[in-house]
């Protein structure tokens, strides 16, 4: 582990080599262990240490050069600084470069778990075994992945700023397929602590979905009421977070741009029970005490009781707009309601239960229309009960409009879907979800 003292020595050395007025250093150190399995056996796995030091040098007239180095010898660090300064010297002034931040008071985050940081195969293999055993018992085929990482990060600049933080992160995901390849089920868990993972529980969920998914019905594409499980909601909300930039909104390139100019900031676009916010302080999230700008990380509401409450201002754009800079819309939390997933299913007269989403891409950057597919479990809901398994669909939808059409939410949990990292989100019910075509994929 790169200790706070190691990190301090490292950044002091880099800053000591710097001759330009401004120098910023960004250190990332990670030790991780992972196991990948498929066809009911372990396939590849590994243990590794990686490290990276990013160096940004800035001249008095705001010319900027960036380098990163991974070799931490004095000579390599010195060369990294010299290279960054050489790049700054030949660059042109950056009209958007901001003055260096002075020393900051960073909040304390509690997302490092010692047990997780030292875990190796002996701790992870029982979870894999539970999954493979469940597959064997049910004549299914298990594939999946379990990993844990122990991370140390540090930031510093020549103006006296210094920050150091350690965090752990871990996740388990599993796909069960049946022998005939006609059904699949999936489950995923993620947390700062390996103690929160449970292969048995994941195996029960993914096996049950796979067994229940046999004999899929082909329904016509069209608009359906959907119950989106948390992993599906997480990826939609994750993509939505990417589109909260103030600059794009002000410059007519966002779903938050107003026709004729201006933005939709302050407007009530969603039902009052929709609140989407960033919360880096949740101990289950792999967050850092600082935002990308190196300002202290903070809780912030993007949508507050249905109203667009904040846009994401970087330091430059905030200085021009006379606003306070914000962190980016990451570590997202969509507030839930006190309903179980079963309650949500029971509330739907006819609709589809969607396990997760896949291959989500932006169709139109300005409207933020996305496309993607359902994956690993679509089920028909009739009169509040799951009846038949259904084939997968391609969908074209705006995540903003999905929230606008949301009628009910369940209880939040940390999820890691296939696309956008982790969020804390509930399952939701949303109407008129646009399925464009059937996908034969299983």
């Amino acid at each position: 582990m790169l200790t706070q003292q190691d990190a301090k020595n490292l950044v002091d050395k880099v800053i000591g080599y710097s001759r330009l007025p401004a120098c910023e250093v960004n250190v990332q150190w990670t030790e991780d262990a992972f196991i990948r399995f498929a066809n009911n056996g372990i396939t590849t796995s590994g243990y590794r240490v990686t490290q990276q030091v990013g160096i940004t040098s800035i001249t008095a007239d705001k010319r900027t050069g960036n380098t990163s180095v991974g070799e931490l010898s004095d000579e390599a660090l010195k060369r990294g600084v010299e290279a960054a300064e050489a790049l700054a010297a030949i660059s042109k002034p950056d009209p958007e470069a901001m003055p260096a931040l002075p020393a900051q008071e960073y909040p304390a985050l509690h997302n490092f778990d010692t047990f997780t940081a030292s875990a190796r195969g002996d701790v992870m293999i029982p979870h894999v075994r539970a999954l493979i055993d469940s597959a064997s018992r049910n004549q299914l085929i298990a594939a999946g992945y379990i990993q844990r990482s122990s991370n140390a990060v540090a930031v510093a600049n020549k103006a006296g700023l210094f920050g150091y933080h350690t965090y752990t992160d871990t996740g388990l995901s599993n796909t069960m397929r049946n022998q005939g390849g006609t059904s699949s089920g999936w489950a995923s868990q993620s947390s700062a602590s390996l103690k929160d993972l449970d292969g048995e529980t994941a195996a029960r969920i993914s096996s049950e979905k796979c067994l229940r998914g046999v004999g899929r019905k082909k329904l016509d594409p069209g608009k359906y009421t959907v119950v989106l499980e948390p992993a599906a909601v997480g990826d939609l909300v994750g993509w939505l977070g990417f589109a909260f930039g103030a600059r794009d909104a002000e410059q007519g390139q966002s779903f938050l741009s107003k026709k004729g100019g201006g933005t939709l900031l302050g407007e009530k676009l969603y039902p009052e029970y929709i609140t989407l916010r960033s919360d880096p302080f949740d101990p289950k999230m792999a967050a850092t005490p600082w935002a990308q700008s190196l300002l202290p990380n903070e809780k912030i509401a993007w949508i507050d009781k249905g109203v667009v409450r904040n846009l994401n201002y970087d330091r430059f754009w905030a200085s021009k707009a006379g606003k306070k800079p914000t962190p980016a819309a990451s570590n997202l939390v969509l507030d839930g309601q006190d309903h179980s997933l079963d309650d949500l299913i029971a509330s739907v007269d006819r609709g589809l239960l969607i396990t997760r989403l896949w291959y989500i891409r932006v169709v139109q950057p300005q409207t933020w229309q996305l496309t993607g597919l359902s994956r690993d479990g679509v089920f028909l809901i009739e009169k509040g009960k799951i009846t038949d398994p259904v084939t997968n669909f391609r969908w074209n939808e705006s995540p903003s409009e999905v929230l606008q059409r949301t009628t009910q939410l369940g209880r939040g949990e940390r999820v890691t879907g296939g696309e956008t990292g982790s969020q804390i989100v509930p399952p939701i019910v949303s109407t008129d979800f646009n399925f464009a075509s059937v996908s034969d994929a299983v």
């Binding site: 000579e75 594939a143 950057p365």
Partner: protein
């Protein structure tokens, strides 16, 4: 970054290592020793370090050991020109970044199971420690192995190889690169109706040493370049924003590819075309014929042919992440994938291809092999530990790891579509279309986990009416089932129009890795494809 990232931006790539600004600095004090185009032998220093891993693996009871010691470099330089907040003055924002990575990874087979470990500290002691770690991993995991690993035989090689390039892009002064990008982005932005412009030059190199316990000792150096330009236009009154890009073939080549890209000459064209795109009427959806240019079709080939013919997917090894494939193994040799015009090769030997190398990360001499012949699916992409699973006796050389810290596994070779007859020109394809669309460049892209159902946008769309190319259209996407689409192909232009576009960052695997790959093709025509009107 506006590059087409195929799967996910969150790839855990480590940009490590020393970063420098010129050849003298790049190669000074480096482990690899000065580059020597004449040398056919790997560096002795590297061979000595490699031998440490091989000896330790043997001592600890591994039945196979390999080590990769690798240095990577990525250099980005460019400009973004956009209006200041609430005003008309243009802010010209330069960026320049030089990132590199250095370290080693050791792979072993012990108790019949793979183990892997990696470290950025390239010393004999650390190589010994990490080799032991890899064996610990293998032995621990062997309690849950389905079957012992079996490697297809390969010859052993002692060789040094360099990709073809005339001028190392890293020795070109960075200010020359910045001046070029400032000039072309200013040309795009010259018309005040163009809202913003963006231009980037990205160069990457991979310098890799491989040694295996089967006697191979191989050093390879690859240089690649990716130029890209984009213009954005905004209609505030109607709340519409459109872009137009100039995609250049990204190639394994040196600085000499940059003048050939004619960035300066193409800048005024995309300046005009972004405004045409902004004013273009929306498409009328329905079944239409498509003429797809290589700058667009490469991505459709990549997603629907490249990924569906990966053996690890077909066998279920990617089931939890990238997915499986509709091309199950009983279809090999007999399945009708597309029309008789479709001939597709997997190829890591073709000049300029982003996946082109002499040896793969299993130490196998790379090959060119048919994937689809006259529409029939013939062969999968394979590596050493898979070949026997489909009754084959040797690997097709498709093993790759994106970093010293990544586990090598099956990755896509260049997968290219053979050109059509010498007489066929793109205009011939267009003249045969009554109601259709010509598509250039890539837009949004999405395909399901078994590669049946895809949807693609594009960068620019022109209506084809009565056999003639007309004005631009907007809001176009098309959706199809892979095999329906390839069966609907009834025209491919000749070799004269064959181009090799591709992607620097194709995602696959857990932890996710990124692969660079090219997909050469000529303009091609597809009949009666389902065209959508997007929002």
């Amino acid at each position: 970054m506006k590059f087409p990232i195929i799967k996910d931006l969150s790839t855990r790539r480590s940009f490590l290592g020393a970063a420098t600004t010129g050849a003298s600095l790049l190669f000074a004090n480096r482990l690899f020793g000065a580059p020597d185009a004449q040398s056919t032998a790997p560096s002795k220093d590297l061979e000595r370090l490699g031998a440490v891993a091989l000896a330790e693996g043997k001592k600890q009871g591994a039945t196979y050991t390999d080590i990769r010691i690798a240095r990577y470099r990525n250099q980005f330089s460019g400009y973004r020109l956009s209006p200041e907040r609430g005003g008309t003055k243009t802010d010209e924002v330069p960026f320049v970044s030089d990132q590199s990575a250095f370290g080693f990874g050791v792979r072993v087979i012990a108790n019949g199971q793979w183990g892997f470990a990696a470290s950025p500290l390239v010393t004999a002691d650390e190589i010994t420690r990490i080799t032991r770690e890899a064996i610990v991993v293998a032995k621990a995991n062997s309690v849950l192995q389905a079957k012992p690993v079996e490697l297809a035989p390969t010859k052993s090689y002692v060789d040094r190889w360099t990709s073809n390039f005339e001028k190392d892009p890293f020795i070109v002064p960075t200010n020359e690169k910045l001046e070029l990008m400032q000039s072309v982005t200013s040309t795009i932005k010259k018309d005040p109706k163009v809202f913003s412009s963006f231009g980037i030059l990205w160069f990457r190199s991979e310098d890799k040493y491989f040694a295996s316990s089967e006697g191979s000792s191989i050093q390879q150096f690859v240089v690649q370049g990716y130029p890209f330009l984009q213009a954005t236009a905004v209609d505030f009154q109607n709340n519409i924003s459109r872009t137009r890009s100039y995609s250049v073939e990204p190639l394994s080549a040196g600085w000499e590819a940059i003048p050939k890209a004619n960035l300066g000459e193409n800048a005024p064209r995309i300046r005009a075309e972004v405004l045409e795109h902004l004013a273009a009427p929306p498409v009328k959806p329905g079944k239409k014929d498509l003429v797809l240019l290589p700058s667009h079709l490469w991505l459709t080939i990549h997603e629907s042919i490249g990924h569906s013919t990966e053996l690890d997917r077909a066998l279920g090894y990617e089931a939890n992440f990238a997915g499986t494939s509709f091309l199950t193994t009983e279809k090999m040799g007999n399945f009708s994938f597309g029309s008789e015009l479709i001939n597709v090769f997997g190829d890591r030997t073709n000049e300029g291809g982003l996946a082109t190398v002499k040896y793969d990360d299993d130490g196998v001499l790379t090959t060119k092999f048919p994937i689809i012949e006259k529409g029939i699916f013939k062969h999968y992409q394979t590596i050493r530990d898979q070949a026997h699973l489909i009754g084959e006796t040797e690997s097709r050389g498709c093993c790759y790891a994106d970093s010293w810290s990544s586990v090598p596994f099956q990755r896509m070779p260049n997968v290219w579509l053979a050109p059509g007859p010498a007489t066929v020109k793109p205009d011939d394809l267009i003249s045969g279309v009554d109601d259709g669309i010509l598509i250039d460049g890539d837009g949004s892209f999405s395909i399901d986990q078994q590669r049946y159902n895809f949807q693609f946008g594009g960068d620019a769309f022109w209506e084809i009416k009565g056999g003639k190319k007309r004005g631009m259209l907007s809001r176009v996407a098309y959706q199809a089932k892979t095999t329906d689409f390839w069966h609907s192909c009834d025209g491919i232009a000749s070799r004269s129009y064959w181009q090799q576009f591709g992607a620097p960052s194709d995602g696959k695997g857990e932890p996710e890795q990124s692969n660079a790959v090219s997909h050469g093709c000529s303009p091609s025509r597809f009949r009666q494809v389902n065209v959508l009107l997007t929002d």
